[in-house]
Amino acid sequence: MKVPISWLKEYVEFDASPDELAKRFTFSGIEVEGIENGAPSYDGVVVGEVLSIEKHPGADRLLICRVNDGAGEQKVVCGAHNFAVGDKAPFARVGAVLPNGLKISERKVRGELSCGMLCAEDELQISEDHSGIMLLDRSLAVGTPFSKAVKTEEIVLELEVTWNRPDCLCIIGIARELAALFGTKLKFPSVEFPEKGEQIEKLAKVTVEDSVGCPRYTARVISGVKTGASPVWMQKRLMLSGVRPISNIVDITNYVMLECGQPLHAFDYSLLANHEIVVRRAKLGETMATLDGIERNITPEMLLIADAARPIALAGVMGGAGSEIQDNTGTVLLESAAFDPRSIRQTSSKLGFTTESSYRFERSVDIRGVDWASRRAASLIVQYCGGTAAAGSIDVFPKKLQERNIACRFQRVNDLLGVSVPAGRVVSIFESLQIPVVKLDDSSCTIAAPSFRPDLMIEADLIEEVARINGLDQIPAVPPPASVIPDADDSRTRAIIALRTSLVGLGLSETMNYSFVSERLLNIFSPQDVGRRVALPNPVSADYAIMRDSLIPQMVEWLGRNLFHQIAEVSFFEIGKVFLKGPDGKIREEDRLSIGLLGKVGRSSLDSRRGLKRDEMFLWAKGIVEALHRAQHLNGVESAPCRASYFEEGGCVSISVGGQQCGIMGLVAEPIRKEWRMTEPVAVVELALDPLLSRFAAAPALKPAPVYPSIARDVAIIVAKEITHEDILHVIRRSAPGELTETKLFDIFTGDAIGVGRKSLAYSLVYCDLNRTLTDEDANRYHNAIKDALKNELKAEIREN
């Protein structure tokens, strides 16, 4: 909200620079977003010197002057006579735009060319004065910009008023805050005016059909008004406040709204059917055009102002076309009312726009101030537009207000704020804010909440008033003692931090993606999963329309996008939620971990030019998964072949822990890779987080390190190609004694020497007894048993060298 400081001074005295004022506001709860000079820029208006004055040959009342504007001599036609040769005056050059919007151009006046204009004070919005041109100090240098020659500065504060303080959406409200902050008195303008017209009841009728939507409606009638421009001082204040002047009556309603926060509306009385006002809900199928000429769709829950025949305004939001003030309006019906904030908010959000009026009504107006605002506007209309006010007013205000008394205990103030505020100070703060104290004793006071303060409901609200006016800088900073909360458990958080740290140690970089993605991206991966996806009814854009049901699509997308940036090697992980719709329509969330590898991330840079093989890429990813499980104290991690639409056939396994499936990993299918022009294998993993974290807090079961020497024996076998490493491990483990402590694959070989359909694998087996030194004979016995088992069970051929 724009607040001109000069306007504030009309209601409250204070002595502070704009910066100081801004600081006081900011630290008492009204944030100052800017301090600006709101005065017109006066571009093109300079100090001019009158060099000569002659009579206009074609018009008696006009003069022709020569003016030095610093750049040269200009000939101007002038209607004023209050100056002499040698006088200095504001001169608007050709091209200048005056504050009232007048653009100065070369033109002929009664046959004489006029190049510029000598300005009167009202033309520059300095004052009302139009009796002659504005005379300036003769010592001013010719050509000096007018804005420098005369102090025209008008400081305007841009305030951000919080939602709970509708009382501060006006100049008087802001002045009230200042009065409290500076300890001075608030002055109200006069609302007295003669009521010489007919009795109002004879002129108009008001019916409020919905007193919940409209708890108070007042109407005044002023007849015999003359429409025209409003006074310059008023136009100036409106413009400084960011409101465009229109005509005197409309300007007065806007002016009073800015002054006291009560939106008003003026109807042309002659255009109201039956001179009647009805406040009611819209009827089905009703339409109306608003002031801006737009035909609006109105729905039955919207509150309307109607006359006897048709809607004439969207209550509290915008007036209608067809009942507004005209150039020839002679009689005005002035509306001042209070509307239910919910109803106004509903209407304005349904129509998709807010106005100065709806903005204030949806935060609620001072219901007691409704009539004051009406009187204030009527007094200004009578004063500035002529006219006669009808006697009295119509005031439909069926439900009288309940007093809201709130007690405030002084000890509670001190306890909640953690600082001691004397009782006398508490009371004086309330009084300075015009919050009447109705009861006072040693330990507490009771206030009557004013109708302009809807935010004051409970004791804590009053304590806030004390805190902000007394100053938050008075509050000491006390670090609270960290007393223990016995059953607090943060092991899951620690497990996640440890997991993240492990991943970083394994060389992966963490990514972060939005929880919503485009449907297109998801469909690249698994179009068949449409049914489980959660769509947003009101997404910000199609790119963020669906809640993700997997972390994999975004992972692959970002690997691809980094490749676009010519990054050859990327290893990423992300920890985040997925959202799945169940058959019952309920939404389930699951925390997951994804991992993505692109390029030769597992190799030394000195070995990075060799082509990347699928199994190599797969095993890197598998190595990371194994390391993570180890870091989280998980044993018994198993993988089994599976299928997924986005993985290569054969290059995809499911991962399970303790028999429970908890994830999937594999090589991204080629058609998907092609979307991002990825030609080499790409590995992706997705794991459910909770199974992975399940044993984080468990202490690992320790085995003593052997003290007796171990014996290593190698075995190389030739088996059919279909036999897997895990098949071989199973056989070895089953046939080995407890003394087998390590089994390590150290060579794989295929080739002509082995034979088609066969492969050679070499294992190093280590035997050790915890209680004694093994003999060669022991080792041979164990080793032979294993060899026999491999021969028998896998038809392995043992390679003896």
Binding site: T162, A482, V504, S515, L536, V540, H565
Partner: protein
């Protein structure tokens, strides 16, 4: 062997050792005198045949023999090795890049979150979590949000077909925490939130918050200020201070906003703090008694404070990140700087 003979043999050995011209010659000397079948084992074996008086002297000389020859051989070995350069010296380019897999990086949002968890843990705060898909009750109503407050609007909040919504703040976790236990409660709630903001340099429809809640018998605004002051120093640096400004939130009363003094310029004004010397970081306040009533706490005997701050904002301020979108673009060249 008598002591005198040992001395003589020692001198001979020392001479041969000094004369050795190559490492191979030197090794031959070692084998001849100290090797398994060399002179020294012979001397040691012979000791037992000597008279007791001679035996001890011979023993001493044998030790001298071993020590002096050993020292000479070591010295000569170094000498020959460095001049000949044939055996022990290796030549390689030590400026080659190290060849152990490098570290990855944590996301700046995670770094700030983990740091905040660490700091608040020192003050006794434990992490609490809740769902992203929330009920209107937990996200708005229980937090004393008036039903015509603009934040509830379709325009600002992602409502779902189930009637639930994507939480606009992590405050519903505070409600859930209070519903599930009696005071004292001291939690922080890091997590993801959603608001229907158009994405620009400072806004993102998907963002992260850390909120805190401390409820006990006598918690005051001074405790809140102290907690935030402690956090500011730990997070941004020892010289950083805080100030409070009054504000409005439906769920706290009084409500404040908290600024940190600028960690870059120290308060004198710079680009980071837009020349104000202060950076707006947190919203906070004393828990509104109406919120306590919703969760079944007695507002007479219970007081508490709550605060909330944007993780992205802290990360941007702390690391000098100019555009929030960088945090979600996952460019490895950006991310790997956060080690």
């Amino acid at each position: 062997m008598k002591p005198e003979e040992i001395v003589k043999l020692r001198e001979q050995a020392l001479n041969e050792g000094r004369a050795a011209a190559t490492l191979a010659d030197l090794e031959a000397v070692r084998i001849k005198y100290l090797g398994r079948k060399g002179a020294l084992p012979d001397i040691m074996k012979g000791l037992k045949d000597l008279a007791p008086e001679e035996r001890s002297r011979a023993g001493q000389e044998a030790n001298n023999f071993k020590q002096q020859i050993g020292e000479l051989l070591d010295a000569r070995k170094l000498e020959l090795g460095s001049t000949a350069g044939t055996v022990s010296k290796v030549t390689f380019d030590y400026t080659l890049p190290g060849n152990w897999r490098g570290l990855g990086s944590k996301h700046p949002i995670s770094m700030v979150t983990e740091e905040a968890i660490r700091i608040f843990a020192k003050l006794g705060f434990t992490v609490a979590e809740g769902p992203d898909v929330e009920t209107r009750y937990h996200n708005f109503d229980a937090l004393n949000t008036p039903d015509h407050h603009p934040s509830i609007d379709q325009k600002d909040t992602f409502w779902l077909e189930t009637g639930e919504l994507l939480r606009t703040q992590t405050s519903p976790v505070q409600i859930r925490a209070m519903e599930s236990r009696k005071p004292p409660v001291r939690i922080i709630t890091p997590g993801r939130c959603y608001r229907r903001d158009a994405t620009n340099a400072t806004h993102s429809a998907n963002f992260h918050q850390i909120e805190g809640l401390y409820v006990d018998a006598k918690v005051s605004l001074a405790d809140l200020k102290g907690t935030l002051a402690y956090f500011a120093k730990e997070m941004m640096g020892p010289k950083v201070g805080v100030r409070l400004r009054p504000h409005f939130f439906p769920f706290t009363e009084p409500s404040v906003e908290c600024d940190f003094s600028c960690h870059v310029c120290g308060g004198s004004g710079c680009r980071v703090c837009k020349n104000s010397g202060w950076i707006e970081i947190a919203g906070a306040g004393m828990v509104d008694p109406r919120v306590f009533m919703k969760v079944g706490y007695d507002p007479e005997t219970t007081t508490g404070f709550a605060f909330g701050m944007g993780v992205e904002r802290i990360a941007m301020v702390k690391y000098g990140i100019g555009d929030i979108r960088l945090l979600y673009e996952n460019d490895i060249r950006f991310l790997r700087q956060f080690v």
